[in-house]
Each structure stands twice: as C-alpha cells, then as structure tokens.
Symmetry: C2
Subunit: 557 residues, 2 copies
C-alpha cells in the first residue's frame, strides 16, 4: 500500500491544551476512525454556558469516510459529548460493556438510544475499519473496563493509550494487558498517543488497593453513621467501600442520582459485587443503629446540588448528619472546586461531624487514576514509538511528557506537541506537522449547540458587571418632538429606590440631549442614540464609577 499517495493523518479535535472534551482522529486515505467524544465544563468566563463539546465540522464535512467512533472508557471527558455530537451526526459507537452501559443511560435521556448503533467490544476484539484495523489492550484506571487501542494502518501501528495507570494490585482482578502492550511495542510502533494528566507528578501512582486499607481502618474506628463520598464512576472505590461495610457489619444506602445509576449499571453487568441483603433504602437509614450504616453518596467535589452538599446544609429530606458521624471525602478537589469543597467541609464541621478531607496523599482516601512520571516512562519504554504525540493534558503537561519521552530515548525531533486541529501527517515513514483542520469549542447553552458566540458572551459579561439601563423615548414622525418619555428602566445597576435622584437627573439629561441635537438639526435615529448613550454613559460613570450597558430605544409614531 505504500507509495499509493495516501497518507496517515493523526490529530485531536479536543483534549490537548486542555483537560476535557477528548476526541482524536486517525485517518488513512478514505477511512476515518474517531476516538472518544468528551465534554467539559465551562470556566467562569463563559457566562451561562452549560457544556463545551468538540467542534466536529471536520467530521461532518467528511461524513462518508467516518467508519467508527471508539470510546476508550466511560468518563464524562470521553463520553459526555455523545448526546450533542450524535444529534449533529450519526456514527456507530464501539465500547466495552460497562462503557456502553453508561452511554445507554445518557442516550436514553437524550432520546437518541433508538437511532444509535452501539457495538460491544472487549480487549480481544479486532475491528476492520476500511484500511485501518483496531486491536485493543486493557488498562488500569479509576473506572473498570478501559481500553487502549492499537491501530494497524498501511503506514504502521498507531497506539492510543486511553487513560491509564499501572496498578499491579488492582481491585476485582482488573489487570492491565502488560504482555500485550509489550508485544505491540516489540512489533514496532510508528506513533504513540499517550495521556499526560499526571506528567507533572514524579514517581508512581499508588494502587487503588492502598485506599481500601484506609477505608477499612476508618470504618473500624467510626462509632456512628459513615458518609462516604466519591466519584460515582469509581466502581473500584465503591467495591472497596462495600467490602469495608461487609467487614464491619454495616448496611449500605445510596444517595444521589449519579450514584444510584452507576451502582445499578455496574451491579447488573457484574462489575461490582454486593452481598445479599446489604443495600437499604435512604428512608430506612434512620431506623438502623448509627453504627450499622454507611451511606455512599455523590458530592466529593462540593457540587452545590449534590447529595453531600445537601446533607451538609441539613437540606436532605430523608437522612441527617448528626454530631459524631464520620464524613469521608474520597477525592482530591479538582482545580476550581477548592472553594466549594471548603464551604461544604465548614458546614459538615458545623453539624458536629468528624470530617476526613483534603489531598488523598495526606488522608490515604484517594489515589489518582492516571499514570505518574515513572509509569509514563514505562509506557513509552514498552511501546518504543518512532513518533510520540502526548495527548490528554494542558500545555505544560504535554510539554513535560515530551521531555520524559526524551529521557527514555525518543528522538526530540520526533515529538509533536500539538494543539487541537494540528495535523501530524505520516507518509512513507516520515511525519510532518504543517497543516490544520477546523477544531475548537462548541458551546452548549440550553437546547442550542454552537449558537452562542463571542458577541453574545461579551454582552453577558458586560451585563454581569454593571447591569443595564434602557432609555425609551417616543418621537413624533412629523416634527420629531418627544411625545412620550424618556423612560429609564434599569436592572443590575443600582437599587432604584435608593437612586431616584440619580435616575431623575439621567432622565433630564436625555431629554436635554435630544433637544440640543435636534436644535443642531440632528434627526437621524442612529445619531440621536449615540448622543444619548455618550452623555448618559459619562454622567453615570462620573456619579457611580460604573459602566452599565445602555440601550437607547427610539419609537416613532
């Protein structure tokens, strides 16, 4: 196939220079395979935006070439974009059983389940996708049933690690396919795409089993109710809580929709083992002795409407945290969530609870699901790639991952630190990064996908800072004189009852400005509006130090 003029192209539509909305593309000639379809939450500058998903213009323009969307695992930054992306463009979706279970729940909610082809795979599957063949290997991560992918292409093998760590003592026998990885590496890897989340972190990420030991210790020590909060998708963690509850003769109740969903799916598919008779309903909690109950709940990141936030605010209908209860936050706050977690911990202490919180390194109640530097080097060593593209991370993580690759022998000229849309083309064994495809953030707001852009956001920002002020005046068509108004209505600017004189003076200024302009023979509405806006803006800034949005409206009769 070489020399056919076709080439291999690799790029990200999301996931590099950011944490979140992962989507990668491997293309050979007329065959496109898409990996993952994530979402991410907007930062505080994107006012009113609900979610960010990848811009899939490239895929829509090449609709006929897309052979498959392969999902590596069931985390939101890998599946959260599906309900929105599939609305724009249908594709067959491949994933392991647990991954598809989580996706089904999402698509059912979005009423897309019927029209989407979901194809279960496992680590032994081989998919023939035109000129590309996909094979798989199991990895360890903070959710079961994760895959890495080896794409066999006419140019050579491209490996995408998915999210991974090396956990040599995993929970529920979820061993990684290290021998398979070694074989893939031995047979030659043209290009490796490896995740970079923890590229800043020295050492080797501890095993999930370490957390189990700390959980059991805390369960043994607690005299009253235990509230254990973690990411619902961390099925291994949930299993260890269930094991600790069994060992200390506690029943388990679930609080939070996310927790109920994941436990139901994981139990049904056999990814979690719950002893007979252990689960109780939330309304049964109060009837049990405090020392015989553990509550598994969502809210480890202090999310305002989560079960634990509601419990901390004494706002849960069925269950209450009482003095002497133990609350365990089994998660490290994600950057940006520190303040809401801290506020929740304050409230838990106010209720008299013992609280175990803070960095997992200190409490032992959390370990990362991502590979630290030594594990990243191990993956690079196993794969021995010719070309290396660090993915899944912000710039500094990609950069530091690139440096790690150098230390284990990858040619610095063969390392590509790319942005979303930057294409690495490989032809006849030689890689070049020179062209771009369209890529970026598609903003979801309400039902709208991609209809909120920079102008709308700029207006929201301006409105949020100093509010707004509408000035309406009705002019007569014939003579141009004011027949009604000016009327001023404000929102978010000043408290009107305390600012009557300010607004009266503003009114007077507007009438005076219109009269003055008309006396100067200015009658065009646009000129009158600009005049009013200028005078009013200056007056309000001088009086208040604020610059509200000013909307002059002229009506004519």
């Amino acid at each position: 196939m070489k020399g056919s003029g076709q080439k291999l192209s690799i790029f990200a539509l999301g996931g590099v220079n950011e944490i979140g909305k992962n989507m990668y593309v491997v293309q050979y000639g007329k065959d496109i395979v898409v990996i993952d379809c994530g979402s991410k939450f907007p930062d505080e500058s994107l006012l009113g935006i609900d979610l960010i998903i990848p811009d899939i213009s490239y895929l829509m323009q090449n609709r006929d070439k897309v052979r498959a969307l392969i999902i590596t695992h069931g985390h939101e930054d890998h599946i959260g974009g599906l309900p929105y992306v599939l609305k724009q463009m249908n594709m067959p979706v491949y994933g392991t059983r647990l991954t598809l279970g989580l996706i089904e729940a999402k698509l059912r909610e979005a009423r897309l389940l019927g029209q989407t082809k979901l194809i279960p795979i496992d680590s032994d599957s081989r998919l023939e996708l035109g000129s590309i063949t996909a094979a798989f290997f199991k990895t360890n991560h903070s959710i079961p049933d994760c895959l890495g992918i080896a794409f066999e292409t006419p140019e050579g093998t491209v490996v995408h690690t998915g999210d991974f760590k090396f956990d040599l003592t995993p929970v529920n026998e979820q061993y990684a396919d290290i021998h398979k990885m070694a074989d893939i590496g031995k047979n030659g890897v043209l290009a490796l795409l490896s995740e970079s989340t923890n590229a800043e972190r020295p050492g080797f990420t501890p095993s999930e089993r370490n957390v189990g030991e700390h959980i059991l210790e805390a369960f043994r020590k607690a005299r009253q109710k235990i509230f254990f909060s973690t990411f619902a998708s961390n099925v291994h963690r949930l299993q260890q809580v269930i094991d600790a509850a069994a060992a200390t003769r506690r029943k388990i109740a679930l609080l939070g929709r996310g927790m109920e969903n994941v436990v139901a799916i994981a139990a049904e598919l056999g990814y979690i083992r719950i002893p007979e008779g252990m689960m109780v309903k939330p309304e049964e909690v109060n009837g049990l002795p405090p020392g015989r109950i553990a509550v598994l709940c969502t809210g480890s990141q202090g999310e305002p409407m989560s079960a634990l936030s509601r419990l901390a605010g004494s706002m849960h209908r069925q269950v209450a945290i009482l003095p002497g209860d133990t609350v365990i936050l089994s998660a490290t706050p994600i950057p940006g969530n520190e303040r809401s977690v801290a506020r929740m911990v304050d409230n838990l202490y106010r209720l008299g609870a013992e609280v175990i919180y803070g960095s997992g390194t200190v409490t032992g109640m959390h370990v990362s699901g991502h590979a630290s530097q030594e594990e990243l080097k191990l993956m690079l060593t196993l794969m021995k790639p010719k070309y290396f593209i660090p993915i899944h991370g912000e710039f500094r993580m990609l950069h530091l991952h690139g440096r790690l690759a150098e230390t284990v022998g990858v040619d610095p000229g063969h390392i590509f630190i790319v942005g979303n849309g930057d294409v690495v083309d490989i032809e006849n064994g030689t890689a070049v990064q020179a062209r771009k495809v369209q890529a970026g953030n598609t903003l979801v707001d309400g039902w709208g996908i991609g209809d909120v852009g920079s102008i709308v956001l700029r207006d929201r920002k301006h409105l949020s800072e100093d509010g707004m002020l509408v000035v309406v005046v009705t002019l007569s068509r014939t003579e141009g004189q004011i027949v009604s108004g000016p009327d001023i209505i404000s929102r978010g600017f000043v408290y009107v009852r305390e600012s009557e004189s300010l607004l009266e003076e503003a009114n007077r200024l507007v009438a005076e400005t219109i009269a003055r302009l008309q006396a100067e023979n200015v009658y065009q509405w646009s000129a009158l509006k600009i005049g009013v806006k200028d005078v009013l803006g200056r007056y309000l800034y001088e009086s208040t130090g604020r610059k509200p949005v000013i909307l002059p409206i002229i009506m004519e009769i």
Copy 2:
C-alpha cells in the same frame, strides 16, 4: 473598677468564618479600640463587585467611643478597607513605620492622607486609650514590622496575636518577642484571640531562611535571565532575592507597580538593604548579558494584568522572556487562583522558559507566613489564656484551632467559636456569648460603598446567564391600540443575525397577546406586561432552553 456594672466585650466585625477583611473590636464600657481594617476580594457569585469591606454600622453608631484603630501589619486583609472605612468615619490610625508607610500610599491615592491622623508606634509603645491600655510584642510573619497586642483592661488582659509564625532564624534580624509573650502569659491572660490560617496544617512552618537557600541554588544554576515573582509585600523574600543576585553578580530590575511601590517604601524606611548600583531600569534589561540580570516582578498568583502575566503573554513593552530563561514562582497558588496560575505557566513553557512552580513544599521556593499546629500550640502554651477565641480563618480552621487549644489544656467550655458580630461579654471574670451586633459584608462597586445589595446582584446573575430582551410597544392613550412596535432588542441572549425568525415570531406573539388581552378587556399596563412576559418567556424557553430577563415596556401617547 470591677463591680462598676461595666463589662468587657470582644467581637469580630470581619475575619471569622472567612479569610480576609479582618476587623476586631475590644470594648470596655465607653472605650472602643478597633484592630485592623481589611478588605477581601469577592468570589465569582458577587458579579461586578470590586471589593468587600466590613460593615462598620456598629462603629458609626458608637462613633464617640472609638479611641483608636490599631493596625497589626500591612497586608491587604488588614489594611485594604482603610480608604473606604475612613471615608465613612474618621479614626486615629496606629501602626509601625512600615505599616504606616504602606497605608500612606493607599490614602494618598484615595485623597484621604491629609485628613487622617497616622500615629507611628513600635513594640515598646504603650497607648492609654481610656480604660484600655495597649502594649505590643513583635511577631514573625511574611511582612516585616508585625505586632501582636496585649490590651490591659479592668477585667484583665486580652491578647490579639495579629498574624504570626515562629521563625527562629528570621531574615534581617526580625526576631519575635518570645520573652515578652512569656511574661504576658505569666502575668495572666484573660482572653486570647489567635489567628487560625494554618490550623489544618500539622507540624511547624519552615523558616523563611530555607527559601533563601533554594533561591541561591536556582540563581547559581540559571544561565540566562531570571524572573522571580512573589508577593510584593514579602520584603524578607525580596531581601533574599537581592542577596542571591549579589552573590551571583546579577543586577536587579523591578517590574510591576506593586513591586516598585513596596521596594521604594521598604528601602526608604530601611527594611531592605540594596547594594549600591545593583538596581537597573526595565529598559536597561535588554542591554545587559542575560546571565547578569534578575527581574523581580509581581504576578505570582497569575493575576491577569500583572507583570508576569504580561511577560508570559509576550505583551510587555520593555522586557521579553526568551528560550532558556528561568522563571520562579515563589508562592503557592491561593485557592481560586489555580487555573490562572496554570494558564500562565502554560504560556511560560510556550516561550521556552524553565519554570519553577507549584507548591512551595515541593519546590522549596515558598514558605507560609502563618503558624502551623505546633506553633499555634506554642502560642497557646505561652499565653495560657482563661478564654480562647480563635480568629482569622474559615469555620473549619477556627474549629480545628479550638481543638488544638483543648489538647494544651484550655477548658472546652471556655473556647468560643464565633461568627462576625457574635459578642463575647466578660464581666466579673465570667464570659458569656449571647448577643450580636450588626456585622457583615459591605460591597464596593465603583465609587459606591454598600449601595449594591441582593436585588441588584440577583439581576446581574440572571442577566449573565441568559442575557436580556426588551420589548417596547407604544399604545394610544385614548383607545389603547398599538401605534408603534412591538420592537424587540436583545443582548447576550442569541446572536440576532442568526435568529431573525425566532425574533419575528416573538414580535408577532407580543402583538397577538396584547390584542387578545385587550379583547378580554384587560387594559392595565401591569396586567399587559405580565401577559407579554409569560407568553414570551414560555415561547423562548421552548425554542431555546433559555430564560433571558424579559423587560416589557409600554409607552403611551
């Protein structure tokens, strides 16, 4: 004086259940002494607010009793409220020379310098303030010239620690008065107010001198330009950078207004020692060999307009960061700032710099200025107070500080965890916490102090999420029919050019609704407005999933 019916009252007007805007009050009968006058920055929910200061209603109502405002040190959370509070109410302000130097700069900017009485004190001062006498002791902190205060009152001695750590090897011989503290404790302390910032942190905070060793090591290793960023007020840190620069034959340039101000004040007052000829101007940097220059700059928290942020974005007019330069962030990101620091580090790596960043514990480039648990216990042990009021911290810090006090022997019933405004009254040696005075957040927005309240903020929040929509219609006074409009203007809702049909339909619905209501004999404006708002709100939510602020305006002629 005992049995006179007078009592001692202690409370916070700011600084408990929060980090920031510290203000404490010690009152005996007709004498009030105020300690500190801080500000804090609003969180993301307070849209458009510039600053938060304490609500000083209590002081204004008791204006004639206020004998002094004593400032413990020159950090923003202790002096930042001065320009706003002094505008509301004049008070004589006491502080050490460096503290007053920093306050003067603030008051000059606010044009309040002439009318404010600033009285310099040192650790040997004794102030007679009616029935209260204030004596002082030096503490170690991340700014020089800090004081703790011992108030002698007819009820007994009240100690306020100010901010402190115990640094046994301080920079520039800024030793704490440990012997004085021991004497105060030996003579009997009725109540201790001690700061709680690091009450969650085990152990003993390392000495500032540790940082100096790491700075020198980094300076020796760097081959090209060094950019060193830290809090401008950390004069000890600045001294250590100057010392390292002297040892490695580098000149120093200052970037950032805050850095220039503090260095000027500290140098003039003798708190910093700069070798002759070491300082160069920013415009001279490019003329020097890269190995002979170090730049001291602001921006260690990633503040968007700071010197380092501008350098990282290649937006500084005089100086550029080039590949191979070293950038040192000598600070741990404050919760809430992680993301902006991370973005800045990304940009620095993009420029090819070596970046030393992250937790000071890991890099050695930063130590806290606050006492960890062992030091808090040491202070409690030195003072042996009868009553203990932990201050300066969020609830969990106060709570954990209270527990530390128990471990060193303070009676649990004598520990008061208070909120702002909660008064601890002490009479005949017995303390009771039962009453409150007015306290809270006063919001500063533009020139306005306290004029933005919950309604304005709620409107700003609503505007920021889905924007707004004004519908104007002019009705004839006589017959009520529409003579002009309806006209719809929106901001921050949808991009108008792409939503013409949506807005046309909205227009049609408004006209139809008014006609329908009038046919039902509804003519009151308020009812028409509610009708229009309902119909339009429902239509827009169904079409877009958004709920903009809708402002119906009816004009009449």
